[in-house]
């Protein structure tokens, strides 16, 4: 804030008024492209989503207000409730899983050595791979035939071939594993950055006190990482709630709806069944959930 321009003394008011007006326009001219794009592609659609969620949307015929009927219809449809359940399970499992794996990885690859920098970069690769590519790759890895890559690996340990994404009992866990594979390296990178900020004298003090490695991690490292972990948890949980592409490209909700999440449900209701009011209600619920989660975490942290 220190760099903002101090207000200039106005010397000749009669001349300065029009000039001042021109000056006042300058910031708005620079902001205009952003404002127009945000308005048209963010705020107008958001407003429309809220409006449509209270309407029966009929293209060309005109929309009719139906009060809260879309919302009650949503709660009564079994697909919605199981999608909410799957979304929560997936979001929690993926978030916690990626964080735990990411933390362990970060501890293992922390350090200055060049070889460690190489390992970090290699392990980070999944983060930059487009989700659609991740999905195709993992579908191939999960191939349920006996000569699928994972089935061949588990066969080495004497296990029978599994169905993975095709098996209703394993599908959600299989999707979760893909999410952890992709998110853990991201968490790792952020935690490594956080580890740098931990006071080294605390480690020395712990050594002098004869603390074991575990005590050191629990009493020095983890408390030092608390803010970083809180942020990662929030980001990942919000991302988990709105997950779409992974699920759409991996299973599209199948088999038997066992991996149906909120967004794939909304997509089907909206774009395939053309029930736009119902889908909008679902979108508004999703938005409120992410909002409550973000603001809630922020409130707890203060």
């Amino acid at each position: 804030m220190a760099t903002s321009i101090a207000p200039r003394p106005v010397t000749a008011p009669r001349v300065a008024v029009p000039r001042l007006r021109g000056r006042a326009l300058v910031p708005w001219l620079f902001l205009a492209p952003a404002i127009v794009l945000f308005l048209v592609f963010k705020f107008v659609p958001m407003f429309q989503a809220v409006v449509m969620s209270f309407q029966d949307v009929r293209p060309y015929l005109g929309n009719v207000g139906v009060g809260g009927r879309n919302y009650t219809g949503l709660v009564q449809s079994s697909g919605f409730l199981s999608a909410v359940g799957n979304t929560v399970v997936l979001a929690v499992g993926q978030t916690v899983g990626a964080l735990v794996v990411g933390f362990v990885l970060a501890l293992l690859v922390e350090g200055q050595a060049r070889s460690l920098a190489f390992v970090r970069s290699a392990a980070f690769l999944p983060v930059v791979v487009p989700v659609a590519v991740v999905a195709e790759l993992w579908r191939a890895l999960y191939s349920p035939s006996p000569d699928g890559p994972f089935n061949e690996i588990i066969a080495l340990f004497g296990a029978l071939p599994q169905g993975y994404l095709n098996d209703p009992g394993q599908s959600l866990l299989s999707v979760m594993a893909v999410g952890i594979w992709r998110d853990a390296p991201y968490d790792m990178m952020i935690i490594v950055a956080g580890l740098v900020g931990i006071d080294r004298t605390l480690y020395e003090a712990a050594d002098i006190d004869g603390a074991s490695r575990w005590r050191r991690i629990f009493h020095v490292t983890l408390p030092g990482l608390r803010p970083v972990i809180a942020i990662l948890l929030t980001l990942a949980a919000v991302r988990g709630l709105r997950v779409f592409t992974e699920v759409f490209a991996l299973t599209n909700g199948g088999p038997n709806g066992t991996t149906e999440v909120l967004m794939t449900f909304i997509y089907k209701v909206g774009f395939e069944q053309n029930r736009l009011g119902l889908a909008s209600a679902g979108a508004v619920v999703l938005f409120l959930a992410t909002l409550v989660l973000t603001l809630g975490v922020r409130a707890v942290r203060r």
Partner: protein
């Protein structure tokens, strides 16, 4: 200071520790980079019906088939989208950042809150009304469905880039700007000759992150395209898969083409990436 105080685990440089590290390193690389390597090998293996780690017959057959299936056109669409949207995104962000960082005006705080609010509006939530907006853009009444412009424009303003640019432009000392103004520099000169050149690192950050974000778009091109002619490569992968003639090898060859640009950008601009990663995460 003992070496064991350097890291949380406190592994020393002893021989045992080094062996442990080597094993850990190999496991990590295999788990996280291995599948990508398998994908690459499979792509170059003629007639591969599943993922392979060692090519039986090295060749470009998979790519040839992929090209016959119009993969180059999808790749081209992806490049058009990323080129157009990134250019727009960077321009919009530097303009907005300049106003928010260097100008004091009524409504600035409100605009800032609005920018933050857009970051809390997930595009997934907006998908359905956005498709209606794109079919009939307010005021100008243009239909952008079925055109790449429909993918490009909604990506034009991104809160993250605007925030990064604003933070960075705040750091430029006000004396530089005042000196230029005393020399008679106008608004545009101050912006383009003084502020912008000093923000090259920030341009790197928003360029790299913008590229990755745009290249990874899925839902937006999915709702915009009404037939295969406007598919971007990521969404084309799914329809390729449903083609009974497409083998895993062909699919992996196409996937490799979809993956290569973002991996190259990451490898070449790792420094910008690291800078933005911590900035983005700490902002939340």
């Amino acid at each position: 200071m003992s070496a064991s105080s350097d890291t949380a685990l406190g592994l020393t440089d002893g021989r045992g520790s080094r062996a442990v590290r080597l094993v850990i390193g190999i496991v990590l690389v295999v788990v996280f980079a291995g599948p990508l390597l398998a994908m690459t090998v499979t792509a170059f293996s003629d007639g591969a019906g599943g993922l392979v780690l060692w090519p039986e017959e090295l060749g470009l057959e998979n790519f040839r088939i992929a090209v016959d299936l119009d993969v180059l056109r999808y790749l081209g669409n992806s490049f058009v989208v990323v080129g157009g949207a990134l250019l727009l995104q960077v321009a919009v962000s530097v303009f907005a950042g300049y106003a928010l960082a260097r100008k004091r005006f009524r409504g600035a705080a409100f605009v800032m809150v609005a920018v933050l609010a857009t970051m809390m509006l997930p595009e997934e939530v907006l998908a359905i009304p956005l498709s209606l907006v794109l079919a009939d853009v307010p005021v100008i009444h243009v239909n952008l469905i079925g055109s790449l412009a429909g993918v490009i424009f909604p990506l034009g303003a991104w809160g993250f880039s605007i925030l990064v640019m604003t933070e960075f432009m705040r750091e430029v000392p006000v004396e530089l700007e005042e000196a230029a103004r005393l020399d008679g520099a106008g608004e545009w000169t101050v912006f383009s000759r003084i502020i912008l050149p000093l923000c090259k690192p920030a341009l790197g950050v928003i360029g790299v992150f913008g590229f990755t974000m745009i290249w990874d778009q899925y839902l937006l091109p999915l709702i915009v395209s009404d037939d295969a002619s406007t598919y971007t490569l990521p969404i084309a992968l799914r329809s390729l898969r449903t083609d009974p003639d497409v083998t895993v090898g062909v699919l992996m060859a196409s996937s490799l083409l979809a993956l290569l640009p973002s991996v190259l950008v990451f490898l070449f601009f790792q420094r910008s990436f690291a800078r933005g990663l911590t900035a983005g995460a700490l902002k939340g």
